[in-house]
Structure formats: structure tokens, C-alpha cells
Subunit: 354 residues, 2 copies
């Protein structure tokens, strides 16, 4: 495969020296970009965009053509897995994701099995290969998955949820049923991430978007435990190169120490935690990815620059920091503000890598 | 005034010995109760219910007639204050609160002033007096307010918000303007809580529902600082009795140590934090209120009992714990499950108070 022209992102995840702090943005291929909205319109609905490798490649590359980003992330959705399991994913305008066949009892869960990744999710691997080809070594490509717990919330609720009545009802009342669901998801995710790695993903990330809605005990039992299963099962090397793994539990900063014990190379941080304190808590065990409040991008470029400077100063000298937002970029952000963010990270971080 | 027949709640907030752990539920007067829904229907819309002291009294008492709760909480809304400031609060079905006149620039903020509490919010004090009379010493009555930051989010956004674009845009770009808004709110809240105390509130609580969406630095500068101003300004004694004050920043468990330094008598906890760890962190400085996941009430009464037992064990022996949910009770909970919760707290907690 082509040699990487910019490997800052991979180096920082492995705590190897870098010239400047690498930066990318969660949801960097998204609705805040007019060119994304144009491709989406061509594709039809959101899932048509995910399932068409040409379109997925197009939107993955778009933000890289605008900004000096240090990584690309596969354009896809965390709910491709339950869709491949037969739940019938669809998106209704303004209402977010929905499933035709949610799994709400033992019978439905017992029927689930690890899908044939090649047959059911081949379109994802096709997108990965095509993006790698198109990138031609510009920057590394990140593959990703939702965490088992996060996927389970949508699969049981049948949609996004405000209070998690059904999925938590199941967790509290039928924990064995919940464990069966999480286990089949973890086994599927291992195969899914390995297939992404074989297709060309150079790093992988687990998005545990809803881990933070659990109690401390339940986070460990129902979310972290299954991410651990994935970390233990996924390829960590491919074609002689380490494949760094990033784990991100949104709202989970109180559990950083436990997360750092999983063997993940890096932890994602939301914006509520001071990154310097986070670094002190995890020590040399893991790199950190984050963590500017995405709402700072609503402020002026000068203010954005000031916030970037503060986070760089808080992290301090040395490698092990991948700059990012603490959550996906919002759809109403001015793209020029995203540029100010990316440029500020590169311009202001050099002194920390002398 | 009538002597209190049950003062467990006040005693626990002050870490004085109790026979069993007191318990109440945030939003205990609410839509999960058919009798509440009936009164609300009589009243018309939600604000008509808040503004009519007879109806407000009726719904405040309803949960006490069903369950062995150790405190009543004034039925009202945190948005009465911005309404009294002229923002024109209304509720549109299924969309939550909205303001006709949100405050989104310096001119709008400069026009705000502390309203005449008696003239504009007299209906709240009338409700407090009427509820006290109706309670006749059964249990203490809690008065409350939203935190300045939490009220500001609604006042700037004009409604509930998913990403806080406008209010955080202001916070990041025009911090002085935001401070001016928070200061007029803090000064208003001091008068508002003092009026509630004079009318008969025997404890007060500050709900900082959205403190947890801020960075560590901004939580201290834009939320905690103004709650401190309130704590310093509010009456802490009335008619020779201490008026305990509870502060609750949802999603703010990483800042407990700072919260414990404010002089609040007790801190509210959401369910994500283990209460035993919270107790170890705050030591003897404050009492704790919380913190069962409200979703446990979707599970069976046996499971609810088990969860209550676990939280009591985690807190351990001695006073200083007011049992509660970690957030308001959800509208689809079976009232019999709420009963199982309340009864379990009393039945299982006696050994911890020997």
C-alpha cells in the first residue's frame, strides 16, 4: 500500500513524537458543509448515501479538501450493524433513526446472530477500500463502530430515546437477556472492525455515545465489559503496522481510570473534563483525543483560537494528544470557523513538540 | 406555626440523627399520577396550574396522600422568573416551554431588572402559604428555583435546546453580556427564595439542570459562581429555624468538591455517581440527596427494592442522606412502583440509623 504522507494522527495515538498536534473533527463529513448537502441530495436519503461507496467516498474526502485535517473517518452510521441483523433501519425526516423490527423480548434476542459481514455489510468495506485508494496516502483512514450498549439502546427502543425506558427496563429486570444481546453485538463488532481493518482502516474507534447514561456499576457491567471484549478480539496489527484503537464513552469521564485499563491506545474525552486533569489521571497508559466544546465553533475565530490555546496549554508538552471536538460538529456551524479551529491547532501546538 | 410531625428530611439535611432515611421524589407531583392529570385538565394548561394557588396546592399534596413521603415540594416551574421578567412564557403541546421574547443581545439584557416579586410572583407565595396550611405540619415544604445558568439557557435560546448554540455563542463571544444576565438572575432569585421562605418554605433547592453541559472552567465561572452568590444572599434562618439549602447540578458530579465549598447544606446527585464514593469525596461538609436512576422504576418492585438496598449500603451508616431519584420521576412510571421505592427506603434503612 501507498506510504502515508502524513502519519501524525497515528503517531500521536501511539505517543510517538510529532511536529504539531494532529487534529480531526467528529462528524467532519456532515451537514455543515454545503458540498455534503449537495451529495446527500444526489444520493436521496441518508442510508442511500451510506450504502453507495462512491458517495460515501465523496463525502469522506470533502472536509479534507477544505481543511488541513490529519485523519479521514469512514462515512457511515453506527446503526449499519443492527440493520444487517435484520432490524430494518430507516430515517424519517427530523425524527432520527428508527427500526421497523426493534428487539424487545427474549424471543427477538434469541433470534439474533452474527450476520455475514461480507454479504450484509460489504458496502462498508467497499467504501473503506475506495476511500483508501482515493486518499492515496494523504492521511490515515479511521474505521469505527458504535459500542454494544449504544447499539442496544436503539435496537430495544426502536429509535432515539429521551429516557431509555425500554432498554433500561430490560437491563434492570432481565439482565441475562441484555447480556445475550450485548454479547452477540460484541461478537459482530469484532468481525466488523476486523473486516474494516482488512479493507484498509488504519485506526479504529468505538463510539459509546450512551455509556454516560448508566450508573457506575452498570457502565462497567453493561458497557465497558463489552468494549473490553472487542478490544481483546480485534486485530491490533495489520500488514506489520499497529492499528491504534480509540474508545470514547460520552459523559463517561468519571470512569477514565477503568477505561485506561482496557488496552485501548487512546480515550476520547467530551468537553466537560479539563484535559490536563484527564492526562494526570491516566498517566502514560493511553493517549487522549479531544476535547473542545463543539459550541465554541459558534464563537468568533479569535475566540476559537483562544480556546484551542487553552486546551493545548492544559494538555502540556509532549505527544499523546489528538485534538478534536468533544462531540460531533453541529450542523449550523460556519465552515470558516471549522477552518479557524483546525489551523489554530497546527499553528499553536508546535512549541509543545520542541 | 404548627409543629412538624415529621422532620426527618430537615434533620438529615443537617446531618442530625434520624430513625430512617427520609425520601422524596423530584417531580413527585406529576404526570405519572392520574389525579395530577385530572387536576391539570381542570386547570387548563400547565401555567394555569402553576398560577392558581388552589390547584398548585392540590397537586403538591396528591403524592403525599398516596405515599409515605418525607417532604412536599412546591408545585411550580423554574421558568416563573423569566416569565415575571417579561419574557412571555408559554407551553406548546409536546414542545416544552417557549418564550415570546427571548433575550439574545445586549439591548435585551440591559432592559432586564429584578421584578417586583410580590406583584409578579405573588401567586407562588400564595401557593406556598396555602400548601403550608394544608400540610398542617405533616412534612416540611421545599421551595425551589432554577439556577441562573439554567434559566439563562431557556431565556437566550427561547426554548429547550439540543446544542445550546445561542446561549453558548453568547457565553463564548460576549462573556460580559452573559455575566450581566446571570447577575440580574442571581439577584432576582435571592429575593424570590427569601419570599418563599417568608411565606413558609422550610428548605430550598437550586436546580442547576444544565450546569453539566459546561466545561470545568465555565461551570465555575458561569454556573457555580452565581449559585454561590445566591447561597451568600439567601436567608438561612427563619423564625429561629435553620432553612437548609440543597444545590443540584445535574451531570456535575466531577465538581462535587467545589460544590461542597459553597456553604450549601446538601448536594443533589444524579445516578451516574456511586453515592459511597461521593460521600468519601465530600466528607462531613455536606449532606447528599439522591441518587437512584429514575429508570429503575420501570423494573419490578423486587428489583426496585434491591436497588434501594444497594444505594443504602453504599452510603453506609449515619445521617446525612436524603433518598431521592437522580432526576425527576418519568411520566410513564406505574405509581405502584413509586410506592415500592418509597416503602423500601423506609423499611431497609433503619439498620443504618441504629
Amino acid at each position: 500500500m501507498t506510504k502515508l504522507k502524513n502519519d501524525r494522527f497515528l503517531r500521536a495515538l501511539l505517543k510517538q513524537p510529532v511536529d504539531v498536534t494532529p487534529v480531526w473533527m467528529m462528524r467532519q463529513a456532515g451537514r455543515y458543509l454545503p458540498e455534503y448537502r449537495a451529495t446527500r441530495q444526489k444520493a436521496g436519503d441518508f442510508m442511500a448515501l451510506c450504502k453507495n461507496p462512491e458517495y460515501a467516498t465523496e463525502v469522506t474526502i470533502q472536509p479534507l479538501d477544505r481543511f488541513e485535517l490529519d485523519a479521514a473517518i469512514l462515512f457511515s452510521d453506527i446503526l449499519t450493524i443492527p440493520d444487517a441483523m435484520g432490524l430494518g433501519l430507516y430515517f424519517s425526516e427530523g425524527e432520527g433513526p428508527r427500526f421497523k423490527n426493534p428487539v424487545q423480548d427474549k424471543a427477538a434476542i434469541d433470534k439474533l446472530s452474527v450476520p455475514d459481514i461480507g454479504a450484509e455489510l460489504g458496502y462498508v468495506m467497499d467504501a473503506v477500500s475506495m476511500i483508501r485508494k482515493e486518499l492515496d496516502g494523504r492521511v490515515p483512514l479511521i474505521g469505527f463502530t458504535g459500542s454494544p450498549w449504544t447499539l442496544a439502546t436503539y435496537m430495544v427502543e426502536g429509535s432515539s430515546s429521551k429516557d431509555y425506558a425500554k432498554v433500561k427496563g430490560m437491563l434492570y429486570d432481565q439482565p441475562e437477556q441484555m447480556h445475550a444481546l450485548l454479547d452477540v453485538l460484541a461478537r459482530t463488532i469484532i468481525e466488523y472492525l476486523n473486516a474494516q481493518i482488512e479493507a484498509g482502516a488504519q485506526a479504529v474507534m468505538i463510539f459509546d455515545t450512551w455509556g454516560g447514561v448508566l450508573t457506575t456499576r452498570d457502565y462497567k457491567e453493561f458497557s465497558l465489559r463489552y468494549m473490553q471484549q472487542i478490544i481483546d478480539g480485534v486485530k491490533r496489527e495489520h500488514e506489520g503496522r499497529r492499528i491504534p484503537l480509540v474508545m470514547f464513552s460520552k459523559g463517561g469521564s468519571q470512569w477514565l481510570e477503568a477505561q485506561a485499563e482496557t488496552g485501548a491506545d487512546a480515550l476520547g474525552l467530551d468537553w466537560t473534563l479539563d484535559i490536563g486533569l484527564a492526562r494526570a489521571r491516566v498517566g502514560d497508559k493511553v493517549a487522549l483525543q479531544g476535547n473542545m466544546d463543539p459550541c465554541v465553533l459558534y464563537a468568533s475565530p479569535e475566540r476559537i483560537r483562544q480556546e484551542v490555546a487553552g486546551i493545548l496549554e492544559s494538555y502540556g508538552a509532549g505527544s499523546g494528544h489528538v485534538f478534536n471536538l468533544g462531540h460531533g460538529i453541529h450542523q449550523h456551524v460556519n465552515p470558516e470557523h471549522a477552518r479557524a479551529f483546525v489551523d489554530a491547532v497546527h499553528e499553536l501546538s508546535a512549541p509543545y513538540h520542541k
